[in-house]
Symmetry: C2
Subunit: 193 residues, 2 copies
């Protein structure tokens, strides 16, 4: 159960109780009236690192958390889309960008906040982008211009680090890591093979 929300049953509106359902091994919210079980599971964030003529597209966030910091276009995956479709949708919503040749680039676990990032790499079509509703400003950055201290989230830092390593190694490996620090704190990243 999410301790931030006093929980009621989605199915009938009566209160939930915290209880281990039959055949389960952990506490869930179980409806005291109709027996409905409320499962809460991690959410996926889908996004992309778009390249054009050696530059990378970043967006300055117009919303909290991390208002005013730079991020890669990314957001919550929606029902009935694929991870790739979601990444392309986010690029369009946040930066009015079209993507070509998207491919899975990194899978990053954020167990502290129960999120999984699925990041894609691709080409920014025609080099065109402009700020969407959740974005103050979009900009294409050369490696030497990346605002490392003003990146919104550790996963953005790690994605960019991996991207520049990939450029050096010319590899197409999918990166996998656990990201354990909070935004603004020193990076704690466990990379796995």
């Amino acid at each position: 159960m999410n301790s931030n929300v006093t929980e009621f049953c989605r199915q009938c509106g009566k209160p939930l109780a915290s209880r281990v359902p039959d055949g389960d091994n952990r506490e869930r919210g179980v409806c005291t009236a109709c027996g409905f079980i409320q499962y809460d599971n991690p959410k996926n964030i889908v996004g992309c690192l778009l390249e054009w003529q050696g530059k990378v597209l970043l967006c300055k966030r117009a919303i909290e958390p991390r208002h005013g910091y730079w991020t890669l276009p990314a957001g919550f995956m929606e029902n009935n889309e694929t991870t790739l479709e979601g990444a392309a949708r986010e690029a369009h919503e946040e930066a009015h960008a079209q993507c070509d040749n998207l491919r899975l680039f990194g899978v990053y676990n954020l167990p502290r906040i129960s999120q999984v990032y699925l990041m894609f790499f691709g080409r920014l079509r025609d080099g065109f982008a402009e700020a969407g509703d959740e974005t103050l400003e979009v900009k294409l950055f050369k490696e030497s211009e990346i605002p490392w201290k003003d990146l919104a989230f550790p996963v953005v830092t790690e994605s960019l680090n991996r991207y520049y390593e990939m450029c050096e190694e010319r590899s197409r490996q999918v990166h996998y890591a656990d990201i354990l620090n909070r935004p603004g704190e020193p990076l704690i990243i466990q990379r796995l093979p």
Copy 2:
């Protein structure tokens, strides 16, 4: 909103109405009393393909859907775990198996049912497995013995196909595909680079 459930607010128990929240672009369940917004997002299934002496571990399902069909150990990812930890947990719950050297192997989108499978490859420690509560029987299969017609889900078929391709190619690529058919129907799989 999930049309299977007459929706009430998790926060206050009053009815939800289907409405596009301010700043959003799709309908959500919005509480008519307190304004709480109910977001429903895809769920991750984490699982693993475990190998021992050239054989692969499969589990015969003791639960619906697809009771009696063979599957790879896999299940819903839980909050506050990584995808790899979840895959190892499922192997233990469903087959009392311990895993070594797990690495991400495949990411499969099932947009029809809003699921993403994250499958890992690894070694089955000591070749030991036995049926957990949700499993009728566990067995190690050689390639020639795989019960292709009695596999539970298309994602199991695709994972095994990719595994045997990987063995031939000796590649460590992470596979990515959209799986579009229902269980028991002919495979409709869109593989992406």
